[in-house]
Symmetry: C2
Subunit: 195 residues, 2 copies
DNA sequence: CGCGACGTTGATTTGCCTCAACGATTGTGG
DNA sequence: CCACAATCGTTGAGGCAAATCAACGTCGCG
């Protein structure tokens, strides 16, 4: 539908200049994709050829360790990018899973189409360089927070950053994001309020 | 000294083509810097203007949390880059400290000089994009490993990756890299060998 | 020499996990 | 439309990896 592209183009126009031709090229490169709740955009171990821009709905990016436990890296909502950036650019298998938390609409682009876009629109390449840097910054902060703070501190920070998060994703997903079990988060909340 | 530059130029030539002029520009942009053992290249909270290439010696990159505990992110040896990449490119204060573990020689470049280099040598900008991506990949792997594996597993993996590490850095720094206390690492090793 | 840096060991505590059970809500197929 | 299953959150009892606090031996160096 036309509206999906409008959302992407508006988003890009907020960050860079786009000519009419650029806009057309971008619309040709990005393809609409619908995911039903619980469907995957890509899975751990398979090539991560697609990178998506969320039009509506939401997803979780997560890792499954060798014991089978899931670890949520982040949630993605409207106007977020989803992809294993590391794997996408290195053309290696993804370490992550991207799964829809509800019925979700995306615009997706594959590696070749994106490379071609970059060649034709250098300013777009520069924008994505900045996006990657932001991603790196966010990941580093998340790492430092994980190794130096308690689960409770991380929970408070998450609520500050995303006050609506508890309405958007189920509690056991939040626990997974925090790196603890659902039981632990439940107990933590009880103890917090009891004080 | 001339040898420092030779190391950098050889390193770069392994990864990209460099003309004579490029080589000169690079030699002008990068300045030699010596650090005595325990001296800092930059500190947490201050602007991270410098990025360094290690000629000899070694450094540790670490974060100090609000309780005052240190957390090593990585060690840097000959031919490694040191810098808070996230902060450097975003021109924000560094979240990290870079401290020499022994007397160390570097070539350092500041943000402006590097930007100018990028303008004059586009291929160099491309190379650093790849370096950032590799860095992102490494950080993501480290994060996933930290949240999903035991300290013992992480220790074994470290030894596989860097068999010489125990000779190069003191044990309490390795504990810090693993995210545990020196006492815990000491105990861990005893229990491992007792079996 | 004496001091600081480093590693080790012991006793105790703690934050979170593990396993198990259960109630409430949602959703779905017969 | 109801019945049953699945999903989700909660609570309890017990366990474990690593932290904490404290003491001590060794080495190397200024």
């Amino acid at each position: 539908m036309q509206d999906s592209y409008a959302l992407l183009i508006d988003y890009l126009k907020k960050k860079m200049k786009l000519s009419e031709e650029d806009t057309e090229l971008i619309q040709k490169a990005y393809q609409p994709k619908s995911l039903k709740k619980k469907e995957y955009l890509f899975r751990q171990g398979s090539g991560c050829d697609d990178e998506g821009f969320v039009i509506s709905g939401s997803l979780r990016m997560f890792y499954i360790d060798k014991r089978g436990l899931e670890h949520v890296l982040y949630f993605a909502f409207k106007e977020w990018w989803v992809g294993d950036l590391a794997a996408f650019y290195q053309r290696s298998p993804s370490q992550l899973n991207a799964q829809a938390l509800e019925d979700t609409e995306l615009l997706v682009v594959n590696y070749e189409a994106k490379e071609e876009l970059f060649r034709k629109i250098p300013a777009l390449e520069r924008l994505f360089r900045i996006i990657i840097q932001k991603h790196l910054t966010a990941l580093q902060s998340r790492f430092l927070s994980t190794i130096s703070e308690s689960a409770e501190e991380r929970y408070h920070k998450l609520l500050e950053r995303s006050p609506q998060i508890e309405l958007l994703v189920p509690q056991h997903q939040i626990a997974s994001y925090l790196g603890i079990l659902p039981e632990s988060l439940s107990r933590m909340k009880r103890l917090m309020h009891k004080k």
